[in-house]
Structure formats: structure tokens, C-alpha cells
């Protein structure tokens, strides 16, 4: 009796093995797939990936857009962008090196919140509601830390090889800054045209409300993602 069951099981397996003919492996595609195929120092490819991440990362771009919305002088733009860059570089590098993998959905929801915060700041809501202006440089720094944690979480997902990790990571960071400058140049050119319009200040109000709306959408998307993918 027992033997019969065994034979029956083997029969079933043989059918299955026959049906499940050669299958390659579980392929990871895209940038992550590429990274998982390589090891050692690859300066240019990682710089490229960092820049790509920034330019295609609408959450970072939205925040950056909010930060420079009312900055007209080159010097001010340079100061705020440097503060943001310092913030996100710090947590990105430390996060990857020490493996601080925060939950991507929560971090991205806070990044959405940073967009909302900055839009309200631009609208002058804090002065109206609370009668004072929170330090804008400090806020840029703190949200820079949060954006960096988000970057670190995504890089950890890439599973970069140990071999060449530090140099590759620094290259990625340099790429992020290059991507930020590219995004900034495009934003500043477009805003240059816009700011010259006589009714820029009327547009500015609506633009910041739209930005806030997009920030809320990002938050909603990420919070839902957190509960759906738990």
C-alpha cells in the first residue's frame, strides 16, 4: 500500500518534471538587473544611474521646484541647493554603508509631505496660521536627510556588490548631484520665462496649490502602497 502511494507520487512528479521543461532563471530586468550582474568599480555607469535616478525622480524634482520657487538670486539658489545636497548625501551614504533600510513607502510618504510643507511655506501659510516663519534653511536640511534616506533605501534594493561598493556609491552620489543640476537648469530656464510674465504672482499662488495637491497624491499613493504591500 505504502509503496503504491510512493509510486503514484513519483508518477505525478515525472509528469510535472516532463511538463516543466527548461526554464532559465528568475531574471531581474532593467537597472537593478544590470547592477546585479556586475561587480568591481564602475565609475561612469554608477554616475549615470545616480543622475538618472534624480532626473526621473519626480518627488525630488517637485521638492526642488518648491525650494527655488521664490529664489531669484543665483547666490540664494546655490545656498539652498547645497543645503539640500548636503542633507541627502549624508543620509544616502551613511544609510547604504550602515544598511539603514527604512520602509520605502513610509520614507516616500514623508517625501510627499516635504512637497506639501514647502508649498504651504511658499504660500505663506505658516505666517498666517502661526504668526511666525519656520527656518527655511533648517527645513531644507531636514527634508534633505529624508530624501537621502529614500535614496539609500532604493540603493539597498539594488544590491550593489561589496566589491567596489564605496567608489560605486560615491559615483552614484556624484551622479545624483549632476542630475540635480540638470533638473535645476531646466526648471530655472522655464521659470525664467514664467517669472517675466506680468501675472507671475497670481500664477504663483495656483502653482503652489497644485504642488501641494501633487504632494498629497504622492503621500496617498505611498501610504496605500504601505498597506497593500504589507
Amino acid at each position: 500500500m505504502k509503496l503504491n502511494i510512493k509510486i503514484f507520487i513519483f508518477f505525478c512528479i515525472s509528469v510535472l518534471v516532463f511538463l516543466e521543461s527548461a526554464h532559465a532563471h528568475n531574471v531581474t530586468e532593467g537597472d537593478a538587473g544590470y547592477i546585479q550582474e556586475i561587480w568591481g568599480v564602475h565609475v561612469v555607469p554608477f554616475t549615470y544611474l545616480g543622475a538618472k535616478h534624480m532626473v526621473t525622480g519626480y518627488d525630488h524634482i517637485l521638492f526642488l521646484f518648491g525650494v527655488i520657487f521664490f529664489l531669484y538670486k543665483f547666490k540664494d539658489i546655490a545656498i539652498y541647493v547645497s543645503i539640500f545636497a548636503f542633507g541627502h548625501s549624508t543620509t544616502m551614504l551613511l544609510g547604504v554603508i550602515y544598511g539603514w533600510g527604512a520602509n520605502a513607502y513610509i520614507v516616500d510618504a514623508i517625501i510627499g509631505l516635504s512637497v506639501v510643507y514647502k508649498a504651504l511655506d511658499n504660500l505663506g501659510a505658516y505666517q498666517r496660521w502661526f504668526g511666525f516663519q519656520p527656518n527655511t534653511k533648517l527645513a531644507t536640511l531636514i527634508f534633505g536627510f529624508i530624501h537621502g534616506t529614500g535614496l539609500a533605501t532604493k540603493i539597498l534594493d539594488y544590491k550593489i556588490a561589496e566589491d567596489g561598493l564605496l567608489i560605486n556609491l560615491l559615483s552614484f552620489n556624484v551622479g545624483v548631484e549632476i542630475g540635480q543640476i540638470i533638473a535645476l537648469v531646466v526648471i530655472l530656464i522655464l521659470m525664467g520665462f514664467w517669472r517675466r510674465l506680468p501675472n507671475f504672482m497670481q500664477h504663483a499662488y495656483s502653482a503652489n496649490v497644485i504642488m501641494m495637491f501633487l504632494g498629497f497624491i504622492l503621500m496617498g499613493l505611498q501610504i496605500t502602497g504601505y498597506f497593500v504591500n504589507i
Binding site: K6, I7, F10, F11, I13, S14, V15, L16, V17, F18, L19, E20, S21, A22, H23, A24, H25, N26, V27, T28, E29, G30, D31, G33, Y34, Q36, E37, I38, W39, G40, H42, V44, P45, Y48, K52, F69, F70, Y72, K73, D121, N122, L123, G124, Y126, Q127, R128, Q133, A161, D163, V185, V186, I189, G192, F193, R195, R196, F200, M201, Y205, N208
Partner: protein
């Protein structure tokens, strides 16, 4: 009330400056697109700059991975169709009986087996080497690469499951054991991303039914 001053026209760039900037931006974009982005994304590299920078390699690997994934999806599809065909086709019974005989013959010996195998893998090429195992069977292994560093994916698939046990890249050797998580084929997918031929030696010992190459 906005948290800002209305911009003073003297602080803003002039129309002429803005148009010049737009033209410069568009030209730079085209240059970057051709020399950097197209090589890195699609392995299209008309200038050869992407190759020098190592970006064309990225494009080639991504293209290759997406082709492999596509082939896998097709295979899955065919498999499903095959199952449907089998249900309607009695002549396949012959295959089943054949498989049944060969597997049950192998299954008789539940003793520890041992095998040694060598594979030569050329640069950019891949190879697969599998064991047919039942759920719970355990194998100890040792793999070694000579002549270069190898990427591998130790995984199993069968009975509708698939699982990766261990992954490695730029590896010279690896040692360990794994327990089949389900009935099916379990083994290695190797890929040579190095520059020279690699000889991979695999030593396995444990419980398994047969080797499938």
C-alpha cells in the same frame, strides 16, 4: 499673501538670455542623449563614446536581461498550452509512462550520491546545470571558478514554484548545502561576465534523483 517678494525685472534673466539658454539646453540634451543615454539604455552607440565609458555594456546587459525575461514569459505561456494539450491528448500517456519508469527506477536508490562536473563557459555565455530532486532532499555542494570570476544563481523550479537559494557575482568559489523546497529541478545558472574563458567545477553530494543538463 505669498511668502515672497514679487520678482524685480532687473533680477530676472532677459528674454535674450533665456532663449539662448534654451538653445544651449536643447543642444546639450541631444549630445547627452547620443553619447550617454542611448548607449546606457538601448546599447545604441553611434559615436563609440558609450563603449569607452562602460555605458554600452550596461545597455547590452539590460537588453539581454529583457530578452531572457521575454523568453521566460513565452516559455511559461507554451507550458500552459502544453498542459492543456496534454489533457486532450492521450498519446502523451506514453511519455508519462516512460518518465514514470525512468524516475521510479532512479528513486529506488535513496542512498547518497556524488557527482563531479566541469563546465567551460565563454565570456558573455551562460550555462545551466540541474539536479532533479524531490521536496526535502538535501545536497551539499562546492563550486569553483578558474580563469575568471563567475556569476551564478542557485535556484529551483518545478510544480509551479520557483525559488532562489543563493546568488553570487564575481565569485571564485562557493560552498554550502540546500534542501529542495519542492519537487522539481534545482541547480545553477552560470553567467560569465568576465573577460576570459572560465572553467567551473561543481561537486555535489547528497540525495537527488538524476542530473539534468
Amino acid at each position: 499673501m505669498l511668502n515672497a517678494q514679487k520678482p524685480d525685472l532687473t533680477q530676472l534673466p532677459s528674454s535674450y538670455q533665456l532663449i539662448r539658454s534654451t538653445i544651449i539646453a536643447a543642444i546639450s540634451a541631444i549630445i547627452i542623449l547620443i553619447t550617454i543615454i542611448l548607449p546606457a539604455e538601448y546599447a545604441i552607440d553611434p559615436t563609440g563614446i558609450g563603449r569607452v565609458l562602460g555605458l554600452t555594456e550596461m545597455g547590452e546587459i539590460k537588453k539581454e536581461l529583457s530578452e531572457e525575461a521575454e523568453a521566460d514569459r513565452k516559455l511559461d505561456q507554451e507550458k500552459k498550452e502544453k498542459i492543456n494539450d496534454t489533457k486532450n491528448n492521450q498519446s502523451n500517456l506514453f511519455h508519462h509512462i516512460f518518465n514514470f519508469l525512468s524516475i521510479s527506477a532512479n528513486a529506488q536508490e535513496h542512498i547518497t550520491k556524488q557527482d563531479n562536473i566541469e563546465l567551460i563557459i565563454k565570456p558573455k555565455a551562460s550555462a545551466e546545470w540541474k539536479l532533479v530532486m524531490l521536496k526535502g532532499q538535501q545536497v551539499q555542494y562546492e563550486i569553483q571558478a578558474e580563469g575568471g570570476k563567475i556569476n551564478y544563481d542557485l535556484h529551483g523550479h518545478g510544480s509551479g514554484n520557483s525559488q532562489t537559494y543563493e546568488k553570487g557575482r564575481g565569485s571564485k568559489s562557493s560552498k554550502g548545502e540546500f534542501v529542495a523546497a519542492f519537487d522539481g529541478e534545482h541547480g545553477w545558472f552560470f553567467r560569465n561576465r568576465d573577460k576570459s574563458d572560465i572553467k567551473v567545477t561543481i561537486k555535489v553530494s547528497g540525495n537527488y534523483n538524476k542530473i539534468k543538463k
